[in-house]
């Protein structure tokens, strides 16, 4: 048998590897070299792999992404969209720290990140190429308040790829609200990895707005470890990118830890967005909560894959997962895959999914009160998202997200 010709994903893998081999600086680091070797071996995923069954990376396979050069003073106008969020900010443009646009917060440095080993192909890419990132470390008992981390993608004729690596560490009893926004224009691949440690009794609120450019690709990974009585409370709003996958891996490593991995995906046109989570309950008496809301129009496709792994030792685990989709067009599609792997015998784990259209009775009720149909539909969509948006305690961020949702709605209902 002769070898079959390389497929699109193999060619894409080869392209990234060639760019890596051509950069002696990157090659000098043994962790990066090992990542490249692993990637050469496993390749970028195809839909034959179970974890990628619903999401194909093929749309980015034919694009010759270039390494992003430092581009200062570009894309700052994009920051107007998050102007409502006050306080310190760390701005990255095409994955590189932009000093001029930043107002550096306390407890924060930037620069070449320490690289932990990674396993899956997308974060292997990050490990190969990550050369900048934020390092936030909140000392014990300190309230770090609010930090805005803004990633701007700015691509012209040449598509660019960038792979920032951020590290967030909360020492025991520390608190922080991290607001992480991705914005941009042009064709680019934004592939950040967040390494997060929440120590005993610490609390990290992670509010995320992915409003990348319509031609962009967003592949992000969060790897969070939560110690005893620690809380990782995250909400991710996905509005942008033609192809997006957010992976969140949370490990509850100590008793009475909590992980909230909530998300809303609002998609239109040919957008595809995938929210994939893995919650590892490794210690007893921890709670995980996941509520994922999808609003899908056009020919868009939303994916939620949620895996809850309960170790033998993790008795009294309380896990909850809910995926809800509002399909506003006949061509939109939602795929929902819950997975529970439970090895303890005294646990409470539940999951559910709902799919529906706007309720005709509710629509008529609003219209009978004088509210025109487009406004009535907007009210009902906003009501569908209320459960996700209303608990956001940081008002500036909630307002920015509401505004982004309004803009999204107007863009998809001309």
């Amino acid at each position: 048998m002769s070898a079959s010709p390389p497929n699109a994903m193999q060619l894409a893998t080869t392209g990234f590897l060639a760019r890596f081999e051509g950069n002696s600086g990157l090659r000098a680091n043994p962790v990066r070299r090992r990542a490249a070797e692993t990637l050469r071996h496993v390749g970028l995923p195809t839909q034959r792999e179970e974890a990628w069954h619903f999401t194909s990376l093929r749309p980015l396979a034919g694009i010759a992404f270039q390494g992003a050069h430092a581009v200062h003073d570009h894309g700052h106008d994009l920051l107007a969209r998050v102007a409502g969020i006050g306080g310190p900010r760390i701005v990255f443009v095409n994955g590189r720290h932009d000093t001029a646009a930043s107002e550096m917060p306390d407890f924060t440095t930037v620069g070449e990140p320490a690289l932990d080993e990674t396993e899956d192909a997308v974060s292997l890419l990050n490990t190969m190429f990550a050369d900048d990132g934020a390092h936030i470390e909140i000392p014990p008992g300190v309230d770090g308040e609010t930090i805005l981390l803004a990633s701007l993608g700015v691509a012209g004729a040449e598509p660019v790829a960038f792979h920032p690596r951020h590290r967030v560490r909360l020492h025991p009893g520390a608190r922080l609200t991290l607001i992480d926004v991705s914005l941009g224009r042009g064709t680019y691949l934004n592939n950040p990895v967040f390494d997060i440690e929440v120590a005993e009794g610490a609390m990290l609120t992670h509010l995320r707005l992915q409003d990348d450019a319509t031609d962009a690709f967003h592949l992000s990974s969060v790897r969070a470890t939560i110690a005893s009585r620690g809380t990782y409370d995250s909400f991710a709003l996905t509005l942008g990118a033609r192809l997006a996958r957010m992976e969140v891996h949370a490990r509850l490593a100590g008793v009475h830890g909590a992980a909230h991995l909530n998300a809303a995906q609002l998609l239109g046109g040919i957008q595809h967005a995938d929210f994939t989570t893995v919650v590892a309950h490794d210690a007893p008496s921890c709670a995980s909560r996941q509520t994922v809301k999808n609003v899908l129009t056009g020919k868009s496709r939303g994916v939620f894959q949620g895996r809850i792994e309960v170790a033998r030792a993790a008795q009294k685990t309380d896990g909850y997962q809910m995926n809800q989709a509002l399909l506003l067009s006949p061509d939109a599609e939602i795929d929902s895959k819950p997975q529970l792997q439970i090895y303890a015998d005294d646990v409470k784990c539940s999951h559910g999914a709902t799919v529906g259209e706007l309720d005709a009775d509710q629509l008529f009720y609003l219209r009978s009160r004088g509210i025109a149909e487009p406004a009535a539909r907007a009210i009902l969509v906003r009501a569908f998202l209320a459960e996700a948006l209303d608990p956001i305690a940081h008002e500036d961020t909630r307002a920015v997200m509401e505004h982004a949702i309004d803009a999204w709605w107007k863009g998809h209902n001309p």
Binding site: Q362, F364, S368, G370, I371, A372, E373, A386, E387
Partner: protein
């Protein structure tokens, strides 16, 4: 004000209204009574423009305009209000925001200035007091977790705020105890005047003890079979629908 002429309408191919003729002059309150299945609710839905109902013949004019040609929101802007028999729950929609959005949509459609949040709240609180409703009514989600009586009072609150020229009350008395019934009746009576008309759809006479109508019509099998003064309601209460229906037949 409202003129219904030979209205034939139905749902899913089944004719329910079989030639309704009815005129409600400006400033008058009329009642439509009838047994279950006579077409009372179909009439209210056709008048307010609910989807799914098919009008096969006849006409309805409102202030001389073709009502059936208007979208539900246009009917509301023109001054029509339907108090629902089964008010719809809107989880995630606050009552205050809902009421203000509705009011300002109607004001905008009429070319009037919108009310700001402060002016609106002042007005809404006055009406809430008048209807003996709890203060937190405005903060709660629309009809979510409301008792049957609270839902009906919320309908009357909307009516009081939107100030329609013609209100259709579809079995608003069902599920109300006597105190709530009086409050609802007071809410309607407060609006009575030369600029306000109402069509009260009910199965029972008791609401009409509190809102005394100018005219009473009996709807049976999709047609108005008798009309009379308020005394007709008492006759129905005394002899039942059967007597009136048989007499007409």
């Amino acid at each position: 004000m409202l003129e219904i002429t030979n209205l034939r309408a139905g749902i899913e191919g089944k004719e329910i209204l079989k030639g309704v003729d009815l005129v409600v002059p400006q400033g008058e309150v009329h009642a439509i009574m009838g047994p279950n299945g006579s077409g009372k609710s179909t009439l209210s839905y056709v008048l307010s423009g609910r989807e799914g109902y098919e009008v096969t013949d006849g006409s309805v004019t409102f202030d001389g305009h073709d009502l059936l040609d208007m979208e539900p929101e246009q009917r509301a802007a023109a001054g029509l209000f339907l108090a629902f028999q089964y008010p719809v729950e809107l989880p995630g929609v606050g009552n205050a925001n809902f009421l203000r959005t509705a009011l300002n949509s109607i004001r905008r459609a009429r070319g009037e200035a919108e009310l700001d949040a402060v002016a609106f709240l002042k007005m809404a609180r006055t009406e809430i007091k008048r209807l003996a409703m709890a203060d937190d009514m405005l903060k709660r989600n629309v009809n979510v977790g409301f008792s049957g009586g609270e839902k009906k009072r919320n309908e009357v609150l909307q009516m009081a705020i939107l100030r329609p020229r013609l209100a259709i009350l579809d079995e608003t008395d069902s599920g109300l105890d006597i105190d709530a019934l009086k409050i609802v009746a007071d809410g309607v009576n407060a609006l009575r005047g030369p600029e306000f008309s109402a069509l009260i759809i009910t199965h029972y006479q008791r609401l009409l003890d509190h809102i005394v109508p100018d005219r009473v019509h009996v709807l049976s099998a999709g047609r108005i079979i008798r009309s009379g003064g308020p005394e007709l309601a008492h006759e129905l209460e005394a002899h039942g629908y059967a007597g009136v229906v048989n007499e007409a037949a």
